[in-house]
């Protein structure tokens, strides 16, 4: 067993940036005896500490396993490049924060798959841990490498590297999985026997038991290799949030992390059904936490953490029934404790502004909204059902209430989008500014962020291709030119090449795994960070792996086509998805595209 001693640790930490990422020992972190528990797991987050410690899923799973006295979960995050140099140079293994023990000494390593562009970090962490990347090459004594989170809804690009995926919400099933594993290990079963035995569990996908079949290079089916393995896998769903484990004493980071606040989840899922939004579909059905439970959790959270901010989270918080009553009850429960309450994911309507106004008593920072598209037609296509009147009257209310700063989020590359839809973004911002600037001598500040649409599995847009890279780049140029004429508006856009890769992994099949390994071997890391992202390296990996990324990114799937994630199910989705996808392209919504064809 490997542990890193204090002196060596100080020697390493004196040579890296932000050493506070690696110290562990935070308030509420576990300190359990490795040798007296029966199951030991590492929760591995393939991004920096500051990002991982902001993830609510990580806190929930940490609570669900560590609340069991017979189980242990420790944490590890991706090492920043300077720390990786230190660890490799000194030939040390990847270690956990809590006990500084080698990750490979644990029974299970569970990766949180939040974002496609962290996949090279997953491979890098396996390598730093001293494990073979490929599931087939790992031995009986090696830990099981498992994955979960949104990325597991299309696990195929990662399939050869993982022993098992948990599809869906794992907080109630993960301790049960660990329990089963302990029993199977005690029986002395081999790794593959254990995996086969686990594969019958709900939401469990063991990729080595399934073989993708190809015809003319295109996926045409999935063969189940063992008759005991299920034909298809249904996602895990927590039935009642009030009964689900919840972290009221989460680990409190010493250093500043991205979201550093107490979080209570109001409800899971979203009834809105925006067609591009994966979270809106994979977390269905909508399940609410009761008001009494929310207030109880909030009080406990503040007592156990000392945070000064309480975030009432969900995919669309203003949709919580009787939210005003809830805010009233929270105010009462937390009176005198100097707590700010915040509602992320506000919609652009007057009701949301009233809520924000109420919560911010006095403080007026900035409000963030996501109209996503600037024309009513395109918003209908993506089912973001707000009208231009909604936008203007909501902003009017906000400006009257004293807000001056607004952040607006848009997407380009959406299905049926034309150049007019893109130009409309600039136009909308221009009109917003004209309407609201100069009122009472005050100027409003507008910041506009434009992302590229990435089609995701298990959404009505899953069959749609991503818009071609050249076209995205041209549309970004169009926006830059447009905003150049609007000084004072802060315009930001996402790197189109990064979104291209995101689409590749979001809709890729198992063949994409070899490209991923190639890219990692060439040195790709932290692809979601613009300072590390190198599209040139990825292009080299395309050449060396022989994989044509365009075949995945630009492919229009037919309803009859076999989707790489077709054997994983999110409930009664199939008919709904087809119906909803068809509705997108009805005559009225298609107008824009026809216009564009006229132009060509």
């Amino acid at each position: 067993m490997t542990k890193i001693n204090d002196n060596l640790f100080d020697s390493i930490l004196s040579r890296v940036r932000k050493p506070g990422r690696y110290t562990g020992g935070e308030l509420n972190a576990v300190d359990k005896d490795f040798n007296t528990v029966s199951a030991r797991m590492v929760l591995a987050f393939p991004d920096l500490y500051e990002v991982g410690m902001s993830n609510q899923g990580l806190k929930i799973l940490y609570e669900s396993v560590n609340s069991r006295p017979d189980m242990l979960m420790e944490r590890v995050f991706a090492l920043d490049v300077d720390m990786e140099d230190q660890i490799r140079h000194r030939e040390l293994p990847l270690f956990t924060l809590e006990s500084r023990r080698a990750v490979r000494d644990f029974d299970v390593i569970g990766f949180s798959l939040q974002y496609e562009l962290s996949y090279t970090n997953v491979l890098n962490m396996l390598d730093l841990a001293g494990l073979s990347l490929y599931s087939s090459e790992r031995r009986d004594k090696d830990p099981l490498v498992i994955g979960g989170g949104p990325g597991a809804y299309n696990p195929e690009p990662l399939a050869p590297f993982f022993d098992l995926f948990m599809i869906g919400e794992a907080e109630e099933s993960l301790p049960q999985l660990l329990e089963k594993l302990v029993i199977l290990k005690e029986k002395g079963l081999s790794r593959q026997e254990i995996l086969l035995a686990l594969s019958s569990g709900e939401g469990i996908y063991v990729p080595s038991l399934y073989q993708p079949l190809y015809h003319d290079g295109k996926l045409c089916g999935i063969e189940v290799l063992d008759r005991h393995a299920p034909q298809s896998i249904n996602k895990l769903t927590v039935p009642d949030l009030d009964l689900a484990p919840y972290p009221v004493a989460p680990v409190i980071p010493y250093i500043q992390v991205v979201h550093d606040r107490a979080v209570v989840e109001l409800f899971r899922g979203c009834a809105r059904g925006c067609r591009f939004c994966q979270a809106g579909f994979i977390f269905r059905p909508v399940r609410r936490r009761s008001r009494a439970r929310i207030v109880e959790l909030a009080k406990k959270l503040i007592d156990c953490t000392g945070y000064d901010e309480l975030s009432l989270s969900s995919l669309s918080s203003a949709d919580y029934p009787h939210i005003e009553k809830l805010i009233e009850e929270l105010d009462e429960a937390l009176q005198g404790r100097q707590i700010r309450t915040s509602l992320p994911s506000l919609r652009l309507d007057s009701y949301s502004i009233r809520l924000a106004d109420r919560l911010h008593q006095g403080r007026r920072s900035s409000l963030t909204f996501a109209p996503e598209a600037a024309t009513e037609r395109l918003r209908q296509v993506i089912k973001k059902n707000i009208t231009e009147d909604d936008i203007f009257s909501a902003l009017d209310d906000a400006v009257r209430a004293g807000w001056q700063g607004f952040k607006l989020y848009f997407m380009i590359g959406l299905p049926t989008e034309t150049e007019e839809d893109v130009e409309a973004i600039v136009d909308l911002c221009r009109r917003i500014r004209r309407q609201f600037s100069g009122r009472g001598g005050k100027k409003i500040s507008l910041s506009v962020s434009v992302a590229t649409f990435v089609p995701k599995a298990h959404t009505p847009f899953q069959w749609e291709p991503q818009m071609r890279l050249e076209k995205i780049l041209a549309r970004q140029q169009l926006l830059r030119n447009g905003f150049k004429a609007l000084p004072g508006i802060n315009f930001k856009w996402h790197e189109a090449e990064a979104s291209f890769l995101e689409a590749l992994f979001a809709r890729g099949d198992r063949k994409v795994a070899y490209l991923l390994e190639k890219a990692w071997a060439l040195g790709c890391r932290f692809d979601g960070w613009s300072e590390h992202f190198s599209f040139a390296l990825w292009q080299q990996a395309f050449v060396e792996s022989g994989l044509q990324p365009e075949e995945y990114v630009y492919r229009q799937f037919d309803y009859d086509d076999c989707l790489p994630w077709g054997h994983l199910h999110c409930g009664k989705e199939s008919e709904f998805m087809v119906h909803d996808h068809r509705e997108t392209f009805n005559q009225q919504n298609l107008q824009g595209e026809e216009n564009e064809q006229d132009l060509v």
């Binding site: 010493y254 250093i255 953490t305 000392g306 945070y307």
Partner: protein, 241 residues
């Protein structure tokens, strides 16, 4: 209202957190412990809490100081005991005292700090403690020590740090060769111990300075009372960790 000064030690992993990290840590601890802290007025109320003289990252300390204002009377000893319950391993509350509300803010009183730095040589090169002693004595005997400092608009400016070095000596302690320093600090100007140690290393003619690591430790903070240095922890009730 009731103003309290308290002292604390930072050891082990507590050296790796910044001044702002420490402020957050204390403020959260005070909220968990439901202390009756006074908040500033206005749109963004802040607790009336401050720490004297930020400690650079990577340094341990024996006696750091903090100041806090409560809305009601608080016994200093009781306060220290309750606060200690909220502290992580490596952070020890060592003392506390009630002070006159009209005393100037604690951070404005700090004018000097003493440090001890153990030299850890992680390279293959054999470095005698005599070299260190010579380099230290040489540096201290100079009338002027120039360094380049980045000022406003990233402009480099040459400044003389010698007046900020009040005492500097070397000793061969049990573990490692050690440098002791007394440096001016605070709003009246001063120098970081890291810069002084950089100058010491530069004077030793070591081929691979990156192999040297300092185990750097702040001992005391001082104020100037009628031309004499005095510690600010006078009169504190002492708490044993």
């Amino acid at each position: 209202m009731n103003k309290i000064w308290f002292s604390f030690a930072r050891h082990k992993r507590m050296r790796y957190f910044s001044h702002l990290d420490m402020l957050r840590l204390f403020i959260r601890a005070l909220r968990r412990g439901r202390f009756p802290v006074v908040y500033s007025q206005g749109f963004n109320p802040h607790p009336r809490f401050s720490l004297a003289l930020p400690l650079p990252l990577g340094i341990t300390a024996d006696e750091e100081l903090g100041e806090i204002t409560f809305s009601e009377k608080f016994d200093a000893g009781q306060f220290a005991g309750l606060l200690a319950e909220q502290m992580p391993v490596g952070l020890e509350i060592t003392g506390a005292v009630c002070v006159d509300e009209n005393r100037p803010p604690l951070p404005s009183l700090v004018e000097a700090a003493s440090y001890r730095a153990g030299m850890i040589n992680e390279g293959p090169e054999n470095i005698s403690s005599l070299y260190l002693e010579q380099a230290v004595n040489n540096l201290f005997s100079k009338g002027e020590i120039k360094i380049l400092k980045r000022g406003k608009r990233n402009k480099e400016k040459e400044i003389n740090i010698r007046p900020h070095i009040m005492a500097l000596s070397a000793a061969d302690k049990a573990d490692h060769p050690t440098v002791a320093m007394l440096l001016r600090a605070g709003s009246g100007g001063g120098v970081s111990p890291l810069i002084v140690l950089e100058k010491v290393i530069a004077g030793m003619g070591i081929t691979e300075p990156a192999n040297i690591r300092w185990d750097l430790h702040r001992e005391r903070l001082y104020t100037n009372a009628d031309g004499k240095l005095e510690t600010l922890s006078e009169g504190m009730c002492k708490i044993d960790g």
